[in-house]
């Protein structure tokens, strides 16, 4: 079988591999190279060494969006995972109407980021104007909390589904045995259910982490970085550096920012996988 398959392997592998080379490997390699260049298109690149990196590390808007992204990510990861886990616990209790609740909570996930951003922009602006506060375009703290609420609204349902699948795999004889031994609901949650769903926790934290760091559509649609770039996250900041201004210098800065962003996302997600994986138990 091995031999025959090897002979046929180009038919199986090449279509995906070619598309993968066009869609990912070439752009990735070029992007890495161009971060050391001055350019307006791929063909007129001039090598400038680390000059781009030197500039962006002093770029206040980049550092600001860096901070904003981290503060946003920490709060949204905690909120989304705690609420999603709580909902999953409730929805595995065999209450009435569980299916309807699950359907409703998951729904926002199917709506795209751009549309979600506009829906919430209208809603939040209405609340702000009724409270006679400045609207989103001039109000950076409302922009921050708006993004958090929007992200929770969208992601909680998704993570809830993963936690429900995890909780349903907890063997019921374990829970029963603990009940007979006199454990209360709180003990069962902390000492049995939570350790048994640690693999779901790993995945959910990973997904919320990468989603929060890479957040773009929602940021663009809800606040667009207003007021004065104060609610601009890393992905949007890079996009603005590339496309908001003309000039050879800015593309190089944008690409260098993108490389740093990429390294950051890979490093943080690897670190997180290592940390939470070490807490997983074998079933």
């Amino acid at each position: 079988m091995h031999k025959a398959l090897k002979r046929y392997s180009p038919i199986f592998v090449l279509p995906t591999l070619l598309a993968f080379i066009i869609g990912f490997i070439i752009p990735f390699a070029q992007g890495l190279y161009l971060s050391f260049c001055k350019f307006t298109t791929v063909d007129n690149a001039q090598w400038v060494g680390f000059a781009n990196y030197n500039v962006i590390l002093k770029d206040a808007s980049f550092l600001n969006s860096f901070k904003f992204t981290i503060v946003f990510a920490v709060v949204s990861i905690v909120l989304i995972n705690v609420i999603a886990f709580g909902l999953a616990l409730l929805l595995t209790k065999e209450l009435r109407g569980t299916n309807i609740f699950r359907t409703v909570f998951f729904m926002p996930n199917l709506i795209g980021g751009i549309v979600l951003g506009y829906i919430w922009q209208i809603l939040i602006n209405c609340i702000l104007s009724l409270a006679s506060k400045p609207l989103l375009a001039l109000n950076s703290s409302a922009g921050y909390w708006g993004l958090i609420i929007l992200m929770c609204w969208q992601q909680i349902g998704y993570m809830m589904i993963i936690y429900i699948a995890g909780l349903q795999n907890v063997p019921s004889d374990l829970v029963e045995a603990a009940e007979i031994d006199g454990a209360n609901a709180w003990d069962i949650l902390w000492k049995i259910k939570l350790p048994m769903v640690m693999s779901s926790v790993t995945i959910c934290v990973f997904l919320t982490l990468t989603n929060s760091f890479k957040l773009f559509d929602q940021n663009l649609a809800l606040t667009g970085g207003d007021p004065n770039h104060s609610t601009e996250m890393l992905a949007l900041n890079i996009y603005q550096t590339f496309y908001a201004r003309a000039g050879a210098l800015f593309k190089g800065y944008g690409q260098a920012k993108a490389v740093i962003f990429c390294i950051l996302v890979i490093a943080i997600s690897m670190l997180q996988l290592k940390l939470t994986k070490s807490k997983e138990v074998q079933q």
Binding site: A19, P27, F101, T103, V104, L207
Partner: protein, 280 residues
């Protein structure tokens, strides 16, 4: 004890009901506003229901459907999603089966490149990707699926590999001994076993492609082709006065088909999400 449990259940059901009504409210609010007359829509009155004076009927929907190329965008979005998902399902399942069964050094390189591509943010490749797409003339809705195949391959290959590992190899060997070549073995024996995973991968990739904004914006010629997310963004981003009525009607028109598909395919969508959670 039983009595106590009953009461606590009622409390929890009430809490969940209130929460799910709040969850639905943003969409219901857009629905109400899309039925109002243009003059009645303002920032501070978004929460009020349409009255007999401000009720505009379906006129906003009519103007949104007849102008702004809404139907065209709907067509492009559907075309792109269908071609991309089909390409991803066929090509990536073939690739994943082959590299899992061969399992040589080359297979491992492809596999880890795919895992890497799932974590890399799109901003890293967006500029170079759009230029590559322009050069290779992959910048129309009819062939942008090549780009989506390349960029969506990571998740798909990863999920298919995970599943193929759990299929006993004996079934395939039996087919080969009976005279199937690898292509026949794959399409007649492996694909039927992979069907549930295909549906899950298809759901996840379709959710991504349908809602994707930045990739088509950068790759497609925005003057000629707009997908649905591009249309909504263009609607808001264009200079001059934004017509809020048709805008909200357009939002509803993009949300309603999604909700209908969701209600019918819920089982598969939720299974797809749970199956997708095998990372790490």
């Amino acid at each position: 004890m039983k009595q106590k449990r009953k009461i606590s259940n009622i409390i929890w059901i009430t809490v969940l009901t209130v929460a799910s009504l709040l969850w639905l409210y943003p969409i219901v609010m857009i629905l109400f506003n899309s039925l109002k007359k243009e003059t009645a829509i303002s920032t501070s009155t978004a929460f009020t229901l349409p009255t007999s004076e401000t009720f505009a009927g379906i006129s906003n929907y009519v103007s949104s459907l007849t102008s702004q190329g809404f139907l065209k965008s709907l067509g492009y979005s559907t075309l792109i999603t269908l071609t991309s998902v089909a390409a991803i399902l066929i090509c990536c399942s073939m690739c994943a089966w082959c590299i899992t069964r061969l399992n040589g050094i080359f297979s491992k390189i492809i596999y880890y490149m795919c895992v890497l591509s799932m974590v890399v943010p799109f901003q890293m490749v967006m500029f170079t990707l759009s230029q590559t797409a322009d050069k290779l003339k992959l910048n129309t809705p009819f062939n942008i699926w090549v780009i989506y195949l390349g960029f969506g391959a990571g998740l798909a290959v990863f999920m298919f590999c995970g599943f193929v590992k759990s299929i006993p190899i004996e079934i395939e060997e039996a087919a080969m001994i009976d005279g199937c070549n690898p292509l026949q073995t794959f399409f007649l024996v492996v694909v039927p076993i992979l069907k549930p995973t295909m549906i899950s991968v298809g759901v996840l990739e379709a959710m991504w492609v349908w809602n994707d904004y930045l990739l088509p914006t950068l790759v497609l010629d925005i003057k000629k082709y707009k997908t649905i997310p591009m249309l909504i963004q263009y609607f808001r981003g264009s200079y001059g006065k934004v017509e809020m009525g048709p805008m909200m009607a357009s939002i509803m028109l993009t949300v309603i088909p999604i909700i209908i598909v969701y209600l019918f395919g819920q089982k598969y969508i939720i299974k797809g999400v749970a199956d997708g959670a095998v990372k790490g």
